[in-house]
């Protein structure tokens, strides 16, 4: 029933599709660089953060890694809607594999693609005078995997209710933007007003970006990590588990 071969081939398919869609590839690569070098450089001039021991452009790198994973994970789940609209989902549903297998295939492919993109982005770190050794890189891959899993699982859950590509874009943009702006990517969440802070505290990306800061911006001060890393990992892991369960449930229920 549960087939590793099927999970493998579903993942392989998503990777092939990803690398074949050149437009998507270019946008994916350009988006974080635009944020980092255009928005980042601009604000670096405007905001003086030298006193904290971190330049602004350095400060936003963990957030931009988070953003890359956010966009990649959420929009990887469009494949569920896409497959339904173009019929391919039926080819999978009628195969002798369980629904859970299909959910895991989609989860793993979305997660792996995100980790791949996040890891590729880390190449720019040395240009920002941030040191990343092997230990840091491995730690980042592990954390990125967790964050990507959490967000892909959430995206998959939402996408399983959506039946059109237009609907997907509307709903997902509505989810993605607040998640990004409430993640601590561009400014510390601690400085937000109390009633907005509540939303940041239930945002998995907020803990994800915080965990990245632990690795990429070690040290103390107002601009570095705000929560203990154990809390970050615990929250993201729990969030992943919850939404993996929920999406499996939804897929199992509907034929």
């Amino acid at each position: 029933m549960f087939s590793y071969k099927a999970i493998y081939v579903i993942t392989l398919r998503e990777f092939k599709r990803f690398f074949r869609q050149r437009g998507r590839l270019i946008v994916t690569a350009a988006r974080p660089l635009i944020w980092l070098f255009i928005v980042g450089s601009g604000f670096t001039r405007l905001i003086d953060t030298e006193g904290e021991g971190v330049r602004y452009i350095q400060f936003i790198l963990p957030g931009i890694v988070g953003m890359t994973i956010l966009f990649s994970s959420i929009f990887s789940t469009i494949s569920v809607v896409w497959d339904r609209e173009f019929g391919f989902l039926r080819e999978m549903l009628v195969a002798p594999v369980s629904r859970v297998t299909i959910v895991f295939g989609k989860l793993l492919s979305g997660t792996a693609l995100s980790v791949f993109q996040g890891a590729a982005l880390l190449i720019v770190a040395p240009f920002l005078n941030l040191h990343i050794g092997l230990t840091e890189f491995v730690a980042m891959v592990f954390l990125m995997f967790l964050v990507a899993l959490a967000i892909t699982a959430m995206g998959l859950f939402v996408a399983s209710f959506l039946t059109s590509l237009e609907g997907f874009n509307v709903i997902m943009n509505f989810i993605v933007l607040p998640m990004f702006f409430l993640s601590g990517a561009l400014y510390p969440v601690g400085s937000l007003p109390e009633y907005i802070k509540v939303f940041a505290y239930i945002n998995p990306l907020c803990y994800g970006v915080d965990a990245f800061k632990h690795i990429l911006l070690p040290g103390h001060g107002a601009l570095v990590a705000e929560f203990p890393i154990a809390l970050d990992i615990a929250f993201i892991a729990a969030f992943s588990a919850l939404f993996t369960f929920l999406s499996a449930l939804v897929f199992e229920r509907r034929k």
Partner: protein, 314 residues
């Protein structure tokens, strides 16, 4: 033992019955057709048999496995070609087939063998590395049928496999399916609303409004009509109908723009009709029994609104 067994199958959508107690059996090796107009319940039945849809009551088994209790084993026994395209356009022909092999847990060497073999059969060997997006409609269909056969299913389900194809491609696809069936020897369950496709089946079930109204060999169904059909257009169809009823003791059926009559011998009847009918005849057409007539005779309606079903010649 029949390979498909369906008894008293009922499926409701929001309270209304789409399939109203359907029963039939399909024997191993048979090409069995479901013939009926759009919305008759064909696709619903096929989806139930393929475990993609639940049902409200009755039983359905495929290859001896219960569609409700044992969907996994049913899925292992069947191959499917859907009405709509279900290929991944971004992948190559080979990759689409390979994906299928993995989903059906086939051995690596076996799947390579089968892919090479089936690509040869469908005549796509030299296109195997091409992205499916570039394929024509007929090529895509051939590839889908090939894919449905890769894992050597006991039963191949074809849901309107030629929908949306031009007539030439349609007949190509059918030639292909029939020659393939001879080779592979599996059971085929297909739905169609084209008469000529139904004629080529071993047995057909005519389904209308969720009910099977006839189920037999095509020639037996036609024989059961016992006679020819005369299609008639007159100056006043209502008046002509009354006249025919009283003068010949026949009960004409009303069809769009005219009347249809079932008579034992058409050649002999037409001269008598011209002689005795006072209402002016504007056109008349004699037809040997076809499945279309079987359908009209059973339901009083034409199967399709589009297309020239009973042709009227001036």
């Amino acid at each position: 033992m029949p390979i498909i067994h369906v008894e008293n199958l009922i499926k409701k959508y929001n309270g209304t019955e789409a399939v109203k107690g359907v029963s039939f059996e399909v024997n191993e090796g048979e090409v069995f057709g479901f013939l009926g107009p759009n919305g008759a319940g064909k696709t619903t039945t096929i989806n139930i048999l393929c475990t993609l849809l639940g049902f409200d009551s009755g039983t359905a088994t495929v290859n001896g496995f219960d569609c409700k209790k044992d969907p996994h084993r049913v899925r292992q026994s069947i191959g499917l070609v859907f009405q709509e395209m279900t290929l991944d356009n971004e992948l190559t022909a080979y990759e689409n087939l390979k994906f299928h092999c993995y989903m059906y847990n086939m051995e690596k060497r076996l799947s390579e063998e089968r892919i090479a073999e089936i690509l040869e059969v469908v005549g796509l060997t030299d296109r195997k590395k091409d992205i499916v997006k570039k394929f024509s409609g007929g090529m895509k269909r051939r590839l889908e049928i090939a894919r449905g056969l890769l894992h050597r299913p006991k039963v191949l389900f074809l849901d309107e496999p030629t929908l949306g194809l031009d007539p030439q491609t349609r007949s190509h696809v059918w030639d292909f399916i029939h020659s393939l069936m001879k080779r592979e020897g599996n059971t085929v369950f297909m739905t169609t609303h084209y008469m000529d496709e139904a004629e080529a089946c071993d047995r057909i079930a005519i389904i209308d409004r969720g009910r099977i109204i006839a189920c037999d060999r095509p020639d037996a169904l036609k024989k059961a009509l016992r006679g020819d059909t005369i299609y008639l257009k007159t100056a006043d169809n209502d008046k002509a109908a009354v006249e025919i009823e009283s003068k010949f003791g026949l009960s004409p059926k009303r069809i769009e723009g005219g009347l249809s009559l079932l008579v034992e011998s058409g050649e002999k009847f037409i001269p008598r009709l011209f002689e005795k009918l006072e209402t002016g005849i504007s056109s008349i057409n004699l037809k040997r029994p076809s499945l279309e007539d079987v359908f009209i005779n059973l339901t009083g309606r034409e199967m399709r609104n589009e297309g020239p079903a009973p042709r009227m010649r001036p």
